[in-house]
Amino acid sequence: MVNIYSAQVNFTNIPNPDSNASGNDQVMLYITNTSEAAGVKGFGLPAVDTEALLPFTGASAPVTAIEELKGMLLFVKSTGQAMVFNGLVWTKAFEVESDNTSRFQLNSVSTTSGSVFLPINPTIDKVNYLADPLKLKTNVPTTGANLNRLYIRQTGLYRINLNITFIGPAGSFSSRLGAGMYVNDAQRFQLLENTVNFDGTNRKINLDFSVYAIQGQYITLEAVSEVGGTTSYTVTNNSYVTIEKVL
């Protein structure tokens, strides 16, 4: 039975589908067509007729996530969608999202040193366009340093828009304001902008970073004031960060 648990199962007539295998090819189950010319065959997921028939929905929905069932797949015939269960709810498993943009609100934060890391609120509120299809905050702790972090799930090119509202003492914003960006706690960029006094009291900057980030890296952001400018200000929660996966 120990063998069964760790076995690699091969549903092909190729003796070793992984020709580069060196004793540990890291594939649990091969379901491989031997020849496309001879007719391709597929892998059929278990299916239900409608979404209402998915287990653990409606009155049967769990209160807390069922760890053992994370990753369970079912196909829904009425929608043509493969659905995945995260232990709590079902979502589409494979359909490519047209909206590859996550957007978060920032928590209010103050500084007297001229720079301050920006706390990124993970709350999802789709009515107000706060969403996270890139899963940058999924299962990321909401306390300590992790509150400031966005975790990259896919290597690629990202555009990060920061829309920050500053308030401070009258006349304090005579110099430029800006933002810095860190990758794995190493500073990569700082951009300075001439601020916009958009409502007579608050100052606002709106800038875009372009960053190439690798899976597993985390991004943190900070508000900065130009050297010689004010060091005391508050970033209000009328501030947002938007992350688009470009490539």
Binding site: F11, G44, G71, L73, Y212, G216, L247
Partner: protein
């Protein structure tokens, strides 16, 4: 009966070409393996975190080794609660287009950098350094792809008129030699040559700044921005870096170079809407 068949396969590791159905007596000739129940699902292999995925290699550019025989593999990541698919180069979230297959975007690495010398006697001055070339070969493991066919023999040229999102990043290496104090600004300018006969026009210029301490040892400095721009077919793009220094010194030299690492230096374009 079919369950027993599967168990036999598991035990004896038989290579099997027959159609196997689990949970039903109905066999489909179009499936190699069919799991049927009506209410219960299947769970494919999972991992608690991406560092346990097959072919993980922290030193690889995209943290995974290239491995053609693993193409098509699926694995569930409990850490961020989504399936990943392997494309021969890296594991990608199943609901996102892999960068290398995004048909309307290019990311070009630096093929030839430049050096910007600076001198400081009382006040600082840096010399103009020209423009780096963004014609590095494609590299899928570094998501360096030119799906918009921007690379010409010696220029970056737009082939299709449209609205583009252009992203630019350029890292500077080097620093001051000698005692200086002040601020050095690293500026990136995106320029467009709209027609072969026209001059280079500045579209946007952004500044990244570095505080110089007694001896500037802060290492790499990177400037980056993104800009939306409407471009005609045939328009050329280039990036002009510049350094200005307000550092005060009794005498110091500095030499700043462009870092050619594609993680921090690139020119990227995405076609938002073709005209």
């Amino acid at each position: 009966m079919k369950k027993i068949t599967l168990l036999m396969v598991l035990i004896f590791h038989y290579a099997l070409m027959a159609q196997v159905t689990i949970g039903s007596s109905t066999v489909s000739s179009q499936n190699i393996l069919k799991v049927e129940d009506g209410i219960r699902g299947v769970i494919l292999p999972y991992s608690n975190i991406y560092t346990s995925f097959p072919r993980y290699n922290a030193s690889a550019p995209d943290v995974f080794d290239d491995y053609p025989n693993l193409v098509g593999s699926l694995i569930y990541n409990k850490n961020d609660e989504q399936y990943y698919k392997y494309d021969g180069y890296a594991w990608n979230p199943s609901r996102q287009i892999q960068g290398i297959y995004q048909p309307r975007a290019s990311r070009l690495g630096v093929s030839q950098g430049i050096t910007i010398p600076c001198i400081s006697f009382g006040i600082g001055f840096c010399f103009a350094g020209g423009a780096p070339a963004y014609l590095a070969p494609d590299n899928r493991s570094q998501v360096l792809v030119d799906n918009l066919l921007l690379k010409n023999a010696s220029s970056v040229t737009v082939k299709a008129a449209g609205m583009y999102d252009v992203g630019v990043a350029l890292a500077f290496t080097g620093g001051s030699f000698g005692a200086v104090a002040g601020v050095t600004e690293f500026k990136l300018t995106l320029q467009v040559k709209y027609t072969p006969a026209s001059d280079w026009e500045t579209v946007v210029s952004k500044t990244n700044y570095s505080i110089i301490f007694i001896v500037d040892t802060q290492g790499n400095k990177t400037s980056s921005f993104a800009q939306t721009i409407s471009l005609p077919a045939g328009a050329e793009l280039r990036v002009v870096p510049a350094i200005s220094s307000t550092a005060i010194s009794g005498g110091a030299l500095a030499a700043y170079g462009t870092d050619t690492n594609s993680s921090s230096s690139y020119l990227a374009a995405r076609l938002i809407k073709a005209y």
